[in-house]
Symmetry: D2
Subunit: 190 residues, 4 copies
């Protein structure tokens, strides 16, 4: 299964490994969809978090910022890894001790939060507060993901979606500041 | 100001440096008090966070857990460093660019959250959610610390107090689990 | 697969879920062994890291500290999750885009480091340096785990083992300081 | 000292606060220089870390990547805050318990590593290893910053400089991957 260090020339030889970033990115988008998470649903949480600070905020701009977050490699890696663990738990294939914790969204497990934090961190520590807030209130799709009645397991995905929304909110806050400073600069130059 | 590597014998010589953990601990308690933060006030936030999960929770037990958090070296170091920066900002002594951000609790500053997270982390990632939640809702003393009308600056302290409360909540969750498992063990042995 | 909220009384009914900490702990020890990692091998890395600071350090004391680290819930959860992902990669069962990255220990993947950090963090930020150092030098068993010639995949485990050794080193540093201060206290009292 | 919520019109009135990102950025550059840290010196550590992976690496490209890291708000905030604490320690103005720890670069202090990590994190967890490695080996300017013989205190700055170099290294690794994939894409299209 492991690539030979010196690729052989037999016709069946696997190609030497090389990271395929596009494949990782498209798998991320595809798997979010397969697990019921559209960009719109994440953008709704962003709107929930940011509307009071930026009343002019549009859903289009929220979706755009969610997309920018999803373009980040660290985010894609955390999304795929978390969804993978959710799926394996659904199939009952995890090590029993781990299976029980993931299956039951054990509150003392914590690895779901650890993965979520590698997402939030993408735009710095200012997103921590927003992540914790939505993780507690479970607005919009987070409530559905956290509803354990439909046989699906989203122990990782609900934290991941909250983290993407928190990161997108941080991104918006940074951009809005940049816009504000640009406008003030233009005012000064008049 | 720096200690000589080989301590000299002159009578005025400074003692060679050696960390005095007790001094750091008592300074932490003292400075929290000086800045208006009693253990009770932090314990109230813990109660706010944990009451719904553990209805039998007492203020005494919340205070006890806050004290255990404050016994941790990492927590003491973050508390003292944060309060120090708040004080320097009050005295207007920071580098001007930094002074403005700390003085105005700039939401894009983020170093206050970074310090807070080194506190929350003391009992693992399960505290992140509680930290974000109280940092948003500002219950109890957090509202007062965040009220910028009295000339005092608590840019770091309000995050620090929320983080101590979140860490104490995590500690309680871990201990309650241990108690529960002990009881079940005793039931099995009957 | 999800536990019913109200346990039914049929004889085949699954017991209502309750975290079994002992099961998680013993699975952690067992799986480390199954993957070729003994406490001795981790203790050797601790010795490598700490010997120059504490020449009196014994292997027994290193092993003892590794055991204390392994008693921490956050550490157990990260170990089981990481080993699980390594095993699934060995079996070729991951989502293809993820499979390629884990199988090839892709340096831009980073989720292995994220999990490792939740371990290092258990005794605070002072362990980060030791983690990075052994992750680069790969002393002792880390070299073997990182050797991709034997068909086994240890993308997560090599970082996890380095992180446990770094955390044990931090624990030793904290304890040695406590001993030192106790001795000085006794000297003062004579 | 706190800004009035409604700006008054008296001629001496302070302008209402608004974050001035350019001021923060130029203060960051200026203070690094004042403390003896040029972009070249940081770039040398990047070269030390990355040369074996990318033999074609030039100092110009290393400097460019250091500059990109320094353009990040989180990095600027951590740099200014860390240097501020170093300066206050040099002037002996910290709370005594804190003064002793910062002045003596106490290894159990850890807040310097916490700040450093908010810098490393800017390009994800892949930088942790490089940070730990240079923090241990102290190549180039890190040795000088860590030399406690000249009366200057760089308890925070040495970790900060290592963190900037580690972040720049991560940035290079991400960009080199992008270049590689672009080239392969072009080869396929021929």
């Amino acid at each position: 299964m492991i690539q030979p260090l010196e690729p052989t020339v037999s016709p069946e030889a696997k190609k030497p490994y090389s990271l395929d970033s596009e494949k990782v990115e498209s798998a991320t988008r595809e798997w979010l969809l397969k697990r019921g998470v559209t960009l719109d649903k994440i953008a709704e949480i962003v709107m929930f978090l940011q509307q009071k600070y930026f009343p002019e905020l549009t859903m289009e701009y929220c979706i755009y910022n969610v997309e920018q977050v999803l373009n980040k490699r660290e985010v894609q890696n955390a999304v795929l890894t978390g969804i993978q663990l959710d799926i394996m738990a659904e199939e009952g294939k995890l090590i029993p001790a781990l299976q029980e914790m993931v299956e039951n969204d054990e509150s003392l497990y914590g690895v779901d939060e650890v993965l979520a934090f590698s997402i939030v961190n993408v735009y710095g520590s200012i997103g921590f507060t927003n992540f914790g807030y939505v993780d507690k209130l479970k607005p919009g799709i987070l409530e559905k993901l956290n509803d354990k009645q439909d046989g699906q397991i989203h122990t990782f995905l609900d934290d991941i979606v909250g983290a993407i929304a928190a990161a997108a909110s941080s991104r918006i806050a940074h951009r809005k500041q940049a816009e504000r400073e640009k406008e003030m600069e233009q005012l000064r130059q008049k």
